[in-house]
């Protein structure tokens, strides 16, 4: 998988956003690409995430977390590009269809788009895949509530712009 942050200028901002979420740091999510139109995130395989012990297949909940994060990052990126402002949008709803199990010991990629941004709601869709996006593991549709930029604290804003030193809530280091 090629990483091209020069071509997709929002990649680093989206990665900083993802890094603010403790669960995503724990999962080791990496933003490979981000633009006003899309976000591509990689989820590495880990035996801790197994949901089906007889096959080693990861739990559906992990895919849901990947989809929620990818869709949420797509909303942040779209709003950032369109309004030059930072908003964090909570998820209103999310539906995930699981087409086939993810193969063990391989990363899963989540590709999300924010295909419509209205004044109150952001509409997103996402696909999770391994070898090819044409052979998906899961498909998701989600809507997000838009919250005024004032709700984003200064510390969070600085962290997303790459100005703050430690991520929020990182004072007592994990483990």
């Amino acid at each position: 998988m090629k990483v091209n942050p020069e071509f997709f200028p929002l990649t680093q901002m989206a990665q900083r956003f993802v890094d603010q979420l403790a669960q995503c740091r724990r999962l080791g999510l990496t933003v490979l690409e981000a633009s006003e139109h899309h976000v591509l995130i990689e989820l590495p395989y880990s035996t801790e995430l197994i949901g089906y012990p007889d096959t080693g297949v990861i739990h559906g909940g992990v895919i849901t977390t990947l989809m929620d994060t990818a869709c949420g990052s797509a909303v942040v990126s779209a709003i950032f590009q369109k309004y030059q402002s930072l908003e964090i949008s909570p998820t209103l709803d999310l539906r995930v269809d699981y087409m086939k199990p993810a193969q063990p010991h391989k990363p899963v990629y989540g590709f999300a788009e924010c295909y419509k941004l209205s004044s109150n709601i952001a509409f997103t869709r996402a696909i999770a895949y391994q070898d090819s996006i044409d052979d998906p593991i899961a498909h998701a549709v989600g809507s997000f509530m838009r919250i005024s930029p004032e709700m984003v604290g200064d510390a969070f804003r600085q962290a997303l712009m790459g100005e703050a030193v430690p991520p929020l809530g990182e004072t007592d280091e994990l483990k």
Binding site: E48, G61, P90, L92, D93
Partner: protein
């Protein structure tokens, strides 16, 4: 995380595990077989004929650091796992049910505290089961999320 260590493939005797859990009246036993349940730290307890699932507050489960709130995906994973256990216990499925689709509505922010879930099997066909899952924190009437899902059962 040791991500590349291959896991040994062993068939999970779901009915045997459920039977043992029923005898011991310890359903936490079921969750020990699923690494993801341990990863998010979920628990289960039986009250008569009911199972109540619990997701104790855990720093690693945080999404929004401002509130702070539990990551929506973790809440969804917790509810999905709850539905799977509910099906294994009450429908005596031979295998771990496979999720087909999962649809969740987030009603309130899931704050950084203990969360609970209960499931209702709406309909069970021969191959597919429909399950409703509700999740709350301090008050059972103030749900933080509600979900419905389909599972393939063999």
């Amino acid at each position: 995380m040791n991500s590349n260590k291959p896991t040994e493939q062993k068939t999970l005797d779901v009915q045997g595990i459920v039977k043992r859990a029923t005898e011991l009246n310890d359903f936490g036993h079921l969750l020990e077989h699923v690494p993801y349940a341990k990863f998010i730290g979920m628990k289960v307890e039986r009250f008569g004929d009911e199972l109540i699932f619990k997701l104790p507050a855990k720093d690693d489960n945080i999404g929004n650091p401002i509130l702070p709130a539990i990551h929506g995906g973790v809440i969804a994973g917790f509810m999905e796992m709850s539905a799977i256990v509910q099906l294994m216990v009450f429908m005596q499925t031979a295998k771990v049910p496979k999720v087909v689709d999962f649809s969740i509505d987030y009603l309130r922010a899931g704050l950084h505290k203990d969360s609970f879930a209960e499931c209702r099997i709406t309909r069970q066909g021969r191959r597919v089961a429909n399950v409703n899952i509700n999740c709350w924190q301090t008050n059972r009437k103030q749900l933080i999320a509600t979900a419905r899902a389909h599972f393939l059962i063999d």
